[in-house]
């Protein structure tokens, strides 16, 4: 390619006194002084930042000096560009991005005729290769996904609460029938899971003593709350936050994330908010030594909804 084929470069000159080249400021000397002050203060701040870092000063001093330094330097540089550099306005031509019809046709022809022609003539090869690549894509995805985690199977459907599990608090101490006063609440776990991630996330249960006598939250749950001990899953049925707030006067369990409220005395039926289902209740009994234990696991999956939740 020789230079003759190139369009000539336009070189333009302007005299130094051309109005476009004058600074935008009406009083450039003043602006220059202000910018000098900005640069000096900025430099001092940055030096101060260095000093603060050296003596290991508090974070706010580091930030103040660094921020002040950058801010003053920045304001100075912007002011230099805005007020002391040629004010213009300058113009640039805009060329149409679209090429000529001939260029477009040549481009399309190169792709369709040359490339397409090759494929058209070897249809079978094209199909075979396409199929191979497609299967490769699908197969490549499967082991990648499967390597990332185990299959859910039925792990979502049940917790570690079993028939006869001891109810323990966060420190692993077994809860006895006299431990909680009426109106008290405790977060409990099936014994042995209180320190595990899964125990924390899935098995967490709120134990509330609502009265001194056996309490019935719902028809068919007459034996579930001995001595007034009611136990509900602590995992919110909306999005799984721990339902951690207990409004004793209204007998409500409140989820702090999205304010779902569950009625403690009425089978934890949602009374307000976006939660769709009651918190599952854990049936309890008191054994001969006075320890609280679970009659069985939860009768349904705890926590938020998912497809396989029956």
């Amino acid at each position: 390619m020789t230079d003759e084929h190139r369009t000539p470069v336009s070189l333009s000159g302007l005299p130094a006194n051309d109005p476009h080249l004058q600074p935008a400021a009406r009083n450039p000397q003043l602006v220059e002084r202000v910018i000098s002050v900005c640069f000096i203060v900025g430099t001092l701040c940055i030096a101060g930042f260095g000093a603060c870092y050296w003596i290991d000063a508090q974070a706010w001093k580091l930030g103040a000096t660094l921020g002040g330094g950058l801010l003053f330097l920045g304001i100075g540089i912007v002011a230099w560009g805005k007020y002391l550099m040629p004010r213009g306005p300058f113009v640039e031509e805009r060329h149409t991005l679209a090429n000529s019809e001939a260029d477009r046709q040549a481009f399309a022809a190169a792709i369709v005729e040359r490339g397409g022609g090759v494929v058209q003539r070897r249809k079978l090869l094209g199909k075979l290769l396409g199929g191979g690549m497609g299967i490769f894509g699908i197969v490549a995805m499967f082991p990648l996904l499967r390597s990332l985690g185990p299959l859910p199977k039925t792990t979502m459907q049940h917790t570690d609460w079993r028939s006869g599990s001891y109810v323990v608090d966060q420190s692993g101490r077994r809860v006895q029938v006299g431990d909680l006063a009426v109106g008290s609440i405790e977060t409990v776990f099936p014994e042995g899971t209180e320190n595990s991630d899964r125990g924390q996330a899935v098995d967490q249960t709120v134990l509330i003593r609502v009265s001194n006598e056996a309490f019935t939250t719902m028809k068919g749950r007459e034996t579930w709350a001995p001595h007034g001990y009611v136990a509900y899953s602590k995992v919110c049925t909306h999005l799984g936050c721990p339902v951690g707030l207990y409004e004793q006067e209204l007998q409500l369990l409140v989820c702090p994330c999205h304010q779902s409220m569950f009625n403690v005395t009425n089978g934890a039926v949602p009374q307000f908010g976006p939660a769709p289902r009651p918190l599952p209740q854990l049936p309890l009994y008191v054994d001969s030594s006075g320890y609280l234990r679970s009659q069985s696991g939860y009768h349904e999956a705890v926590g938020p909804g998912f497809w396989e939740r029956s």
């Binding site: 302007l14 080249l21 330097l73 113009v91 640039e92 991630d197 951690g244 307000f272």
Partner: protein, 511 residues
């Protein structure tokens, strides 16, 4: 002695008129052919309107994110292994926590400058997402997304999604009580997807919640994969901007066929470099004086505990608000559950919103049947329908954002949660519906105003000795406004002596 001076002069002359700089440039041009493109790039014109700097805020806060983020990666340990804390922050001494949390507390208190870097990183992220949203609003309301820039609109919208996603990932890394609750909610949202939700959640988290895989996985996503995609897309964004050139507002000699403003070098370069410093400075000052995300006050994550008033970073607010006010409609039949109470506000709704954003340029082209190339921007009031649609969307998102603090509002106004929630449900529907006709009306009113939106020159009112008043335009604003000058191409040469240059006109030289 004079010999030495002569040699110096001879050497200087041998270097050519532009000295060592010129020689270096020649050497580069010999090898890379830089001269022509380099000069074109120096002459690239940037419009002077202030609204064009909003994208720069986003770009520079992203730079700050990368610099502060690299610093943080040197000290953060992405591990769910449990350790007992014995660091310099006494209130947490002896507590069990994950290494992720412990190392975050350590880099805040034991690493010199660590706390400032962490604070700046968090603030820069909030500014980053905010600047993208405002920049996008500018592009939307002025019609800068129209043909030929639809592609760049889509790239920009993708960048917004990536910024939000990466913000959430980074927010989750310290594994504190508040962010851990956020991850729990994210897990439940993934679960809500019909058919594959449980599998997706298990593959992403490596099993049932919480597992030990999520912190290292989020770490690699947050620090490598998402930033790489962002860097790639920002490059595409800027390349398209240079290739298609800037849009500009009409008036003062600005047409569809030109761009009027300041040249890349040195004017824009000075302004934009200074602006980088200013954004950095403000971020540092925010980091110094405004505490953000003090995780040591929340404590380490524990799935069975929760802190009061859990709220995400501001850019996740609209999602949280939607989850709060959407009713508890769940589908349950034939042994299967579709948790609509989560699926619709947290999956379907954001999907619809972002899809609408993506296809808007095409939708508008279809409805207006306007297939022309546009380089001149619209004044928002001259496009009442588009402006009203944009305000409707923003007010809808705004109401969802407000709804994410129903508990705070109830406490502040001393109302029951129920009242606040029900009113937010109504307001989220009513406010956007009202916003459309009101905005439409205001646009028409502005159009009807004479000279609306143009800055008026101040008048000087004088009283004559007879007591007669007269008003004349202030001379200050008349003699000296650059817009009175016709725009000129960026000069290649500046002649110190006006005599020498003749008329200063354009010479065309063959090379």
């Amino acid at each position: 002695m004079s010999d030495v001076i002569d040699t110096k002069r001879a050497k200087k002359q041998a270097l050519g008129p532009y000295g060592r700089v010129g020689q270096t440039l020649d050497e580069l041009d010999d090898r890379l052919g830089l001269a022509r493109g380099g000069r074109t790039f120096m002459d690239k014109i940037f419009p002077d309107h202030w609204s064009f700097m909003l994208g720069e805020i986003a770009l520079y806060s992203f730079l700050i994110l990368m610099v502060t983020g690299v610093f943080l990666t040197l000290y953060f340990i992405p591990s769910s292994a449990i350790v007992t804390y014995h660091g310099s922050y006494a209130p947490l001494d002896g507590q069990k926590m994950t290494q992720a949390f412990a190392s975050t507390v350590n880099l805040s208190f034991a690493v010199r400058g660590g706390l400032l870097m962490r604070q700046m990183h968090h603030w820069a992220c909030d500014i980053f997402v905010g600047a993208i949203v405002i920049h996008m609003a500018r592009v939307f309301f002025t019609g800068a997304f129209r043909k030929p820039r639809e592609l760049n609109w889509i790239v920009g919208s993708t960048l917004l999604i990536l910024a939000i996603v990466n913000g959430f990932l980074g927010y989750s890394l310290p594994d504190d009580l508040v962010s851990g609750t956020g991850i729990r909610i994210a897990y439940s949202i993934i679960l809500s997807v019909p058919l594959v939700g449980t599998y997706l959640a298990f593959f992403i988290f490596g099993g049932n919640f919480p597992g030990t895989a999520i912190i290292p996985r989020f770490f690699i996503l947050h620090c490598l994969i998402v930033p790489l995609i962002i860097i790639g897309l920002v490059s595409v964004h800027l390349f398209l901007l240079v290739r298609q050139k800037h849009t500009q507002f009409p008036g003062n000699g600005r047409t569809e066929k030109n761009v009027v403003g300041s040249p890349m070098f040195p004017v824009f370069m000075a302004k934009t470099t200074g602006f980088l410093f200013i954004v950095g400075g403000i971020t540092a000052l925010l980091g110094a004086f405004a505490q953000v995300n003090p995780i040591w006050q929340f404590g380490p994550y524990d799935a069975a505990r929760i802190s009061y008033a859990v709220q995400p970073d501001w850019y996740m607010g609209f999602l949280d608000g939607a989850l709060r006010i959407w009713p508890s409609w769940s589908f349950h039949s034939w042994g299967y559950t579709i948790p609509f109470e989560v699926l619709i506000p947290a999956v379907v709704l954001p999907g619809l919103i972002f899809n609408l954003v993506f296809v808007w340029p095409m939708l508008e082209r279809k409805f207006t049947k306007d297939n022309e190339i546009h380089h001149l921007l619209d004044r928002p009031s001259n496009r009442p329908k588009r402006t009203a649609a944009g305000v409707t969307m923003l007010s809808f998102l705004g109401m969802l954002f407000i709804a994410s603090s129903t508990d705070v509002l109830a406490k502040f106004f001393n109302l029951s949660l129920n009242t606040v929630l029900v009113s937010m449900r109504y307001l989220t529907v009513i406010v956007p519906i009202l916003a459309y006709p009101i905005t439409y009306r205001i646009c028409h009113e502005i159009q009807a105003l004479h000279g609306g939106g143009r800055r008026k020159t101040p008048n000087v009112v004088t009283r004559s000795s007879e007591g007669e008043y007269s008003a004349t335009p202030s001379p200050r604003y008349v003699d000296d406004v650059p817009s009175h000058l016709e725009a000129t191409p960026v000069p290649t040469y500046i002649h110190e002596d006006p005599e020498e240059s003749g008329d200063g006109g354009v010479r065309v030289v063959d090379r």
